[in-house]
């Protein structure tokens, strides 16, 4: 039986009904139709479903939806500004070829945003560690890392 759930998703308060066994990922996708967050494995191994939960990156497939009651959730759909201006991490992925098939991309971007909120001057190793839970099969990671480093520079330069 579905039960009411209250979340703030991408800045907007939402109240909706969700099955008690649903993950946060399934609630976002199946109930709110925020399908930018991807299900690559549903067991916490691939990172494609990464969202920010109260500002921290989490794999949303491992979070029970109701355990996130009253939380703030940010998904890939919530990153760009109202004017459509991309977040610096998004822009850097576009400019530096950090995405190919795009399936792992939302999760990688959310992990990177989570990192840069904490540390806007990361080393390459810190970037690799931050995306250590995000699998990508197309890029081989080089351009992903390059994109995140470039985004960090943009943010430090005050363009974020």
């Amino acid at each position: 039986m579905k039960k009411p759930l209250k979340l703030t998703v991408n800045g907007e308060p939402r109240e909706f009904f969700v099955e008690p066994y649903f993950s946060l990922l399934d609630a976002l996708r199946d109930e709110l139709h925020l399908t930018g967050t991807k299900k690559g494995c549903d067991e916490g191994d691939c990172g494609a479903c990464t969202v920010l939960l109260d500002g921290k990156p989490v794999t949303s497939c491992l979070v029970l939806a109701h355990s996130a009651h009253d939380s703030q959730v940010t998904t890939i759909e919530g990153l760009a500004g109202q004017d459509g201006l991309l977040h610096p991490v998004q822009q850097a992925f576009v400019t530096h070829g950090g995405l190919q098939c795009g399936f792992c991309t939302p999760g990688l971007v959310m992990s990177a945003v989570g990192l840069l909120q904490e540390n806007s001057d990361p080393s390459v190793d810190e970037v690799k560690y931050a995306i250590g839970g995000n699998l990508c099969r197309c890029t081989g990671y080089s351009k992903v890392i390059e994109s995140i480093m470039a985004a960090a520079q943009e943010i430090r330069d005050g363009n974020g």
Partner: protein, 759 residues
């Protein structure tokens, strides 16, 4: 060098905005009103007769709308090639653990799963064969008892040996007698999964007009359409396949996978039905690569000339020939001049998940063996491995295995570029080593079409049936833009389905930019010629006095006299020739090989056997890079897949039952960012005669070299030759301690007994 408007520019992908904002729609993102969810019942037996299959309890569960078994399908076998050996769903017999036996459509996923568990199935076990080296023997248990009746069966050795590829030249027996030295080795590559991040997914719906619409995650929408028509036994014209955004395929999504399950359930229930593979099913249902055993024998002269090569390879294809040895056989030569050879590749059935394609199936296995073997031979001769490769490398004008004359190519340039970058030869430190490997592929060909229309606002619509993989839409749009003299943002690239776009071959085998891109270029030229003809008529000057650049057609020596593409497009609507549309079709492209050289530096921990990759350099002849950022991205990604194959990835398969033991991303170890050094990529530009603007294929070769380059680096570091993939710490440590590896000697004569004519 003339100024280019789009060619050779590292422009962002045409689909970048929708992907980076999460709006790109993959098949699993399709939600339709009244849509049901599908779940599969799969076989728990390796080989068994189904003695009872009762769906009554499942059908009675509230919320269940349809249940299907193999008996719901017409009695038809299909296949990926000439051999039709497979039913879409098991009927009276199962051939591997994980094979689909029944499917349920229910109101939601959990009800569907519950219903699957209520299906009663009883199996009577049959004899099982798992080891391909056993399965190929004449006295082996047959995987398929009735294989003599399969359409297309019979061109190989018989029994479980279902395919044979062969190539011969010269007098091998005499050449081995004349050789100064003969070196013989056996290599084994492991089962691997393609590792696409997007699980396979599909939605099927029967439209009000009775046609079937399928939203698919596929590299080959027309191939899915044809195979679906075949297994459902309905006219092809009643099916529309919509190619959704593709979240990685690497060969796994070239053919019909499971689309026929939701399709049949949609036909039975009258509702849209969605099926998404679990990650476990992505490992167990269909299409990985299985083990390959390769025996190589090489005859050489003491001065380093290779005079003979014999190669026997045995490819495990699993329960059905999803994809066989494919392009493997000729690659037993490597990119070397070898005057006498005898090459055989056998495909053999076993009771395992059946194989699909993966980034040039067979070639990566063969390159691991050949390029490791090349080092062994070089060391035995006391010649530097790089020099040994260089002295035997093929050259322009040589005759390839297929009989085609080798055109101009950049093989030597790739070797030289890697040599220069690394400062070879160089002495490595304690427990450090360096190894190189070379790779060879063809630029993919096959049916290709394109239609280019010039819109009334001067933008260009580029219509092709090719699914975007690896940024191919962007490269093709750049080809169109360059040809018509407009910027990339003026090219519209629509999503495609099989009703709207003209037929084309699948997106695979490194064929899109070379072959499909050529069709785009030809269609754009056709459109340009029509624009010029119209402008010539309206401006009153001959066409050869005109140029088409920067969004307009103008008189070359009188630039103010011009018409914009928008003006011409609007004029064309009422012109005698009608609206401007350029078309092109082709069925094949000339032979244009691609070569690369890859080098790995490693550090080996002698205490634990752990291999750390410390540097990776690659050079590839790409002809002309249409979009260098995209090309480099492809080469980096391909190399990392090859590195995963070398160091960590292995689909572990139970030797008794054929069960996949590690069907998760936590246990199937693909490379992570933390595992990888920076990949250094060098682009070599030796243009082809026929590719669009001289481009060659890109995507397949970077995955070839890493296993051999790393094996050769391990040998350089600690003096042991590892002949089995992957190079896990356990395996390397055992070799350092002098323990014998499992892969030894394949006794081909014993396996294929005396009277077999194929040996």
């Amino acid at each position: 060098m003339p100024e280019h408007i789009a060619l050779g520019k590292s422009l962002p992908r045409v689909d970048a905005m929708e992907k980076i904002t999460g709006k790109a729609t993959y098949a699993s993102d399709v939600y339709l009103p009244g849509m049901l969810m599908c779940k599969l019942l799969t076989s728990t037996e390796s080989h068994a007769r189904i003695v009872r299959l009762d769906t009554t309890r499942a059908e009675a569960l509230p919320g269940v709308r349809a249940v299907i078994t193999g008996n719901d399908y017409p009695d038809i076998r299909f296949g990926s090639g000439a051999l039709r050996d497979r039913r879409i769903m098991a009927t009276d017999e199962v051939f591997y653990i994980g094979e689909a036996v029944a499917a349920v459509a229910a109101d939601d996923e959990i009800t569907a799963q519950e219903a699957v568990e209520l299906i009663d199935v009883e199996y009577q076990p049959l004899p099982v064969v798992v080891d391909p080296l056993q399965a190929i023997r004449d006295d082996a248990v047959p995987v398929h008892e009735d294989l003599e009746s399969f359409e297309g069966y019979g061109f190989a050795g018989g029994g479980n040996n279902c395919t044979l590829l062969d190539a011969d030249r010269g007098d091998v027996v005499q050449a081995f007698q004349d050789a100064d030295q003969t070196i013989e080795e056996t290599y084994q590559s492991q089962p691997i999964n393609q590792g696409f991040l997007e699980p396979m997914a599909c939605v099927a719906n029967v439209e009000p007009n009775g046609r079937l619409t399928v939203w698919a995650s596929t590299q080959g929408p027309y191939q899915v359409r044809a195979q679906l028509a075949s297994v459902l036994d309905i006219p092809l014209s009643r099916i529309k396949v919509i190619a959704m955004e593709l979240g990685g395929g690497f060969g796994a999504k070239l053919r019909l996978a499971f689309e026929a399950f939701p399709a049949m359930l949609a036909m039975k229930s009258g509702r849209p039905v969605k099926l998404i593979n679990t990650r476990e099913e992505a490992f167990t249902l269909n299409g990985p690569r299985l083990e390959t055993n390769i025996r190589l024998k090489t005859g050489v002269m003491n001065d380093g000339r290779i005079v003979a090569r014999e190669a026997y390879s045995i490819f495990d294809v699993g329960a059905y020939l999803g994809a066989g040895p494919n392009a493997g056989v000729g690659h037993a030569l490597g990119p070397y001049k070898i005057p006498n050879f005898k090459l055989r590749s056998y495909g053999v059935y076993t009771n395992k998940i059946y194989v699909g394609s993966y980034r040039a199936s067979g070639v990566a296995d063969m390159t691991f063996a050949v390029e490791s073997h090349m080092d062994s031979v070089a060391h035995q001769l006391g010649i530097d491995p790089l020099d040994f490769r260089s002295m035997n490398a093929v050259e322009e004008g040589d005759i390839s295995v297929s009989g085609a004359r080798l055109p101009r190519n950049g093989l030597r340039e790739t070797l030289q570029a890697v040599k220069d970058r690394l400062g070879l030869p160089k002495k490595m430190g304690e427990a450090r080593g360096l190894g190189i490997a070379m790779g060879e592929w063809r630029s993919g060909s096959g049916p290709s079409t394109a239609a280019i229309s010039v819109n009334e606002d001067g933008t260009i619509s580029m219509l092709t049936g090719s699914v975007d993989i690896s940024g191919s839409d962007t490269s093709m749009a750049q080809i169109a833009a360059e040809t018509l003299g407009v910027t990339l943002d003026q090219v519209v690239v629509p999503k495609r389905d099989t009703d709207m776009a003209p037929f084309t071959g699948p997106s695979g085998g490194s064929r899109i930019v070379y072959s499909q891109g050529k069709a785009v270029q030809m269609a754009a030229e056709d459109a340009r010629n029509k624009l010029m003809a119209l402008a010539s008529d309206r401006l009153g000057v001959p066409p050869d006095a005109l140029a088409c650049e920067n969004g307009k057609v103008y008189v070359q020596d009188n630039t103010p006299q011009e018409l914009t593409l928008a003006q011409l497009a609007r004029m064309s609507l009422t012109s005698p020739q009608g609206p401007i549309v350029g078309n092109a079709s082709l069925s094949s492209m000339p032979f244009a090989p691609v070569y690369n050289t890859q080098a790995a530096e490693v550090l080996v921990d002698r205490e634990t056997g752990r291999v750390t990759l410390t540097r990776f350099v690659q050079a590839q002849d790409v002809g002309v890079a249409i979009n260098p950022m995209s090309v480099v991205g492809q080469l980096e990604g391909g190399a990392v897949q090859g590195i995963g194959r070398a160091l960590s990835e292995e689909l572990q398969i139970d030797s008794e039952t054929g069960r996949v033991l590690n069907p998760s991303l936590a246990t199937y170890l693909m490379p992570l960012a933390v595992d990888m050094p920076e990949i250094e990529t060098i682009l070599i530009n030796v243009p082809t005669d026929d590719g669009p603007f001289g481009a060659r294929a890109v995507a397949e070769p970077p995955g070839f070299g890493p296993p051999a380059a790393i094996a050769n680096a391990i040998y350089d570091a600690v003096g042991v030759r590892i002949k089995e993939l992957p190079f896990t710490a356990e395996r390397v440590l055992a070799a350092i301690k002098g323990q014998q590896p499992k892969a030894g000697f394949i006794d081909i004569e014993a396996l294929l007994s005396g009277e077999n004519p194929l040996v």
